[in-house]
C-alpha cells in the first residue's frame, strides 16, 4: 500500500470553512467538515491551487526552513530557473548565484544546467526510442500526479526521464564529493522551489526510488534575505562567473520552454491546470496522436506561476526574456548519442485508477451510480458548496461511498425540517459542516 505525503497542508486556526478552495480544486480533493477544510489525501496532487486561492492563507506548503541546511557539513543550493525572474532590474544571473552562499550555502548548482541535459535527452528519446505518441512531459509533478489519478490510461505516454532538479541534485552531490572528499550523506542538497508539487516530488518521488535532493526551500521564504545579500554584489568585477546555462535552460521556467527545447516543431505546450486537463482529454480521445511532445504545466505561465514565488508570473516571464537575451542557446551537452541510463526513470509510473472508482467491482459501482442518479434529482443542482463538497454530484458521490449522508444538503434538510417537529431529530439534520465538533 502506497503511503501519501503531501506538501500542501491546512492551518486549521486560519481556515474559516469557506468554499474558495473547495470549488477550485481540480481533483475535488477538498471537503469542509466541522467548519474546516480537509484534504482527501488519495486525490490531492499538490498543485497548490488551494494555496493560491485561499483568502485567509490557511493553506500552506510544508517546506524546509533555511536552518535545515545546517544538518549537513556541506550545503548546496539548487536554484530553480524561476528564481531568476523574481528580481527587478537584474541584468546578470551571477548576482543571484554569488549571493546565495551568504545564506549559508557552500556552493550553488543551477537547475537550468541539468535542464539543458534533460532537453538533449528528450530530443534523443523522441527520435531514437520510437515512443508512444504524444510523449507527455514528466517535469511538472502535479501533472504527473493528475495523470495517474484522472487520466490513468495516459501514464504510458509520460516521458520516462527524470526531472531537471533531480539530475541537478545528482550532479551537484557527485561534484561536491570529489571536491570535499565528504560522504554522500554529509552533503545537503536543497532545491530553491517555486511550488509545493516539487517539494512533494522530492519527499515522495514518482519514477525514481529516492530523490537526489535532500530538501526544498520556498522561493518566497528566502526572497527578502537573498535580495539583501544581492545588494552587496552589485559590483560586477567581484562576481564569480557561476552562471553556466543558456536560453534553453532558463526557458524551462516558463510555459513553452521545455517544448521549444525539444527543437521539434511538432510540439505543444499548455499551462494552467484546467487547460492541461482539456489537453489531456484531447489526448485520451486520440486527437493528438500525431503530436510528438506535449509540455504541461499546472501553474499558469509555467513554473514562474508557482504558488511559492514572489513575483507575478507575467512580470517574471518578461524579465526572463530580457535576461536570457544574448545567451548561448545551450551551455550543457551530453556526451552520449543515446539517453544516458542515469537520466532514465528507474521505477514504473503507475496508474491510480482506483482513486476515482465508486466501488471495487462494476456491479456494486453501478448500483452506487444508480443511487447517485436518484440523489441528483432531489439535490437542487446549485453546486453551492454549502454542504462541504464542491458540487451536488460530488455530494451524491460522497453519500454513495458512505462518507456522509444526504442531510448535508441544506436545501434538502430545510425541506425535511418542515416535515418534522421533534427537536432531537432536528439536531441530527444539521449538516456536518455546521455541526459543532464533539
Amino acid at each position: 500500500m502506497e503511503t501519501y505525503f503531501h506538501s500542501v497542508r491546512l492551518d486549521k486556526d486560519k481556515c474559516r470553512g469557506c468554499t474558495n478552495c473547495l470549488k477550485r480544486c481540480p481533483t475535488e480533493a477538498i471537503r469542509v467538515r466541522n467548519g474546516k477544510a480537509i484534504i482527501v489525501k488519495e486525490r490531492c496532487i499538490d498543485c497548490g491551487e488551494c494555496i493560491r486561492v485561499c483568502p485567509h492563507h490557511a493553506k500552506y506548503a510544508n517546506r524546509d526552513s533555511l536552518e535545515q541546511i545546517n544538518n549537513y557539513k556541506y550545503k548546496i543550493a539548487l536554484p530553480a530557473p524561476a528564481l531568476y525572474g523574481q528580481f527587478n532590474n537584474l541584468d546578470d544571473v551571477n548576482i543571484i548565484l554569488n549571493a546565495l552562499p551568504a545564506l549559508g550555502f557552500d556552493s550553488v548548482f543551477e537547475v537550468s544546467k541539468a535542464a539543458e541535459l534533460i532537453s538533449e535527452a528528450t530530443r534523443i528519446y523522441l527520435t531514437e526510442n520510437n515512443p508512444k505518441k504524444p510523449v507527455i512531459s514528466s517535469a511538472c509533478p502535479a501533472i504527473v500526479r493528475l495523470i495517474r489519478v484522472c487520466f490513468p490510461e495516459l501514464v504510458e505516454n509520460i516521458l520516462p526521464i527524470t526531472a531537471p532538479v533531480d539530475e541537478a541534485g545528482r550532479l551537484a552531490r557527485e561534484k561536491a564529493m570529489k571536491i570535499t572528499g565528504l560522504k554522500a550523506e554529509e552533503i545537503g542538497v536543497f532545491f530553491i522551489s517555486p511550488c509545493p508539487a516539487k517539494i512533494t516530488a522530492i519527499k515522495e518521488p514518482i519514477g525514481i526510488e529516492k530523490s537526489h535532493v535532500d530538501g526544498a526551500i520556498a522561493i518566497n521564504d528566502i526572497y527578502p534575505v537573498l535580495l539583501k545579500a544581492m545588494e552587496k554584489h552589485s559590483e560586477y568585477d567581484e562576481l564569480k562567473a557561476l552562471h553556466e546555462s543558456g536560453v534553453i535552460g532558463i526557458s524551462w521556467a516558463t510555459s513553452g520552454g521545455e517544448a521549444s527545447g525539444t527543437l521539434n516543431d511538432n510540439a505543444l505546450a499548455a499551462d494552467g491546470i484546467e487547460n492541461c486537463m482539456k489537453i489531456l482529454e484531447e489526448v485520451e480521445r486520440g486527437n493528438l496522436d500525431s503530436v510528438d511532445f506535449i509540455e504541461l504545466n499546472a501553474c499558469q505561465g509555467g513554473c514562474v506561476g508557482g504558488s511559492l514565488t514572489s513575483e507575478n508570473p507575467f512580470i517574471a516571464k518578461s524579465r526572463l526574456m530580457k535576461l536570457r537575451k544574448y545567451s548561448p542557446i545551450s551551455c550543457n551537452h551530453l556526451s552520449a548519442k543515446k539517453v544516458p541510463q542515469e537520466l532514465l526513470c528507474t521505477e514504473p509510473i503507475e496508474a491510480r485508477d482506483d482513486v476515482m472508482k465508486l466501488a471495487d467491482n462494476v456491479t456494486e459501482a453501478m448500483a452506487r451510480m444508480n443511487r447517485m442518479k436518484e440523489l441528483l434529482t432531489v439535490f437542487p443542482g446549485l453546486d453551492c458548496g454549502t454542504c462541504g463538497t464542491p458540487s451536488c454530484r460530488a455530494l451524491a458521490e460522497d453519500v454513495v461511498r458512505g462518507f456522509t449522508t444526504e442531510h448535508d444538503c441544506v436545501f434538502r434538510a430545510r425541506q425535511e425540517i418542515q416535515e418534522i417537529d421533534n427537536n432531537e431529530e432536528l439536531e441530527r439534520l444539521i449538516p456536518a459542516p455546521f455541526r459543532l465538533e464533539d
Binding site: E153, D353, V362, N370
Partner: protein
C-alpha cells in the same frame, strides 16, 4: 441485476457544446471501474456520433445502457438521414460544410471510427426522417 441507464441531450445549434455528453459518459465509465480500453472505445465512438449529430443531425439524444459485460449506446437524431449508408461508411467520404472543416472536423472518419471502436454497429436511417445508430461494446 439492476442496469444503469444514462440519458443525454445533444444541442444541434451550439457547436461549442459538442463533446460534453461523451465527456460525461467517459467520467461515469471511469468511476464505474471499466477497463481503460473499454472506456476509451466507448468515449471515442460516442464522441464521433455526438459530433455527427451536431454537424448533420441538428442535435439529438444519446442513451447509454450499462451492464457489467456490455455497454449499449443509442444515438438518435431527427436530421436529414443518410441517403447512401455504404458510401457514408467509406473512410474519407464527407458531406460536412466548409465552416466545420475549417475547425478540423468533417474528415470523413466519423462513421468508420465508430465502427472501428465498437463491437456492434447498426445504422437505421431514413432520408428526411433521421438517423439512429445502435452500438454495443462488449467488456470481455
Amino acid at each position: 441485476m439492476e442496469l444503469l441507464s444514462l440519458h443525454y441531450e445533444v444541442s444541434g445549434t451550439d457547436f461549442t457544446c459538442a463533446g460534453e455528453a461523451s465527456g460525461k459518459i467517459k467520467k461515469n465509465l471511469k468511476e464505474l471501474g471499466f477497463p481503460t480500453n473499454i472506456v476509451r472505445n466507448v468515449a471515442i465512438a460516442v464522441y464521433e456520433g455526438e459530433i455527427n449529430m451536431v454537424i448533420h443531425g441538428g442535435g439529438g439524444v444519446i442513451d447509454v445502457e450499462i451492464s457489467p459485460d456490455c455497454i449499449s449506446i443509442v444515438l438518435a437524431d431527427q436530421g436529414p438521414g443518410i441517403p447512401d449508408v455504404s458510401l457514408a461508411m467509406q473512410e474519407g467520404y464527407s458531406t460536412a460544410p466548409d465552416n466545420v472543416r475549417q475547425l478540423g472536423f468533417g474528415a470523413g472518419m466519423g462513421l468508420p471510427n465508430i465502427k472501428k471502436y465498437t463491437d456492434e454497429m447498426i445504422i437505421e436511417t431514413e432520408v428526411g426522417k433521421g438517423t439512429t445508430i445502435k452500438l454495443k461494446v462488449f467488456v470481455n
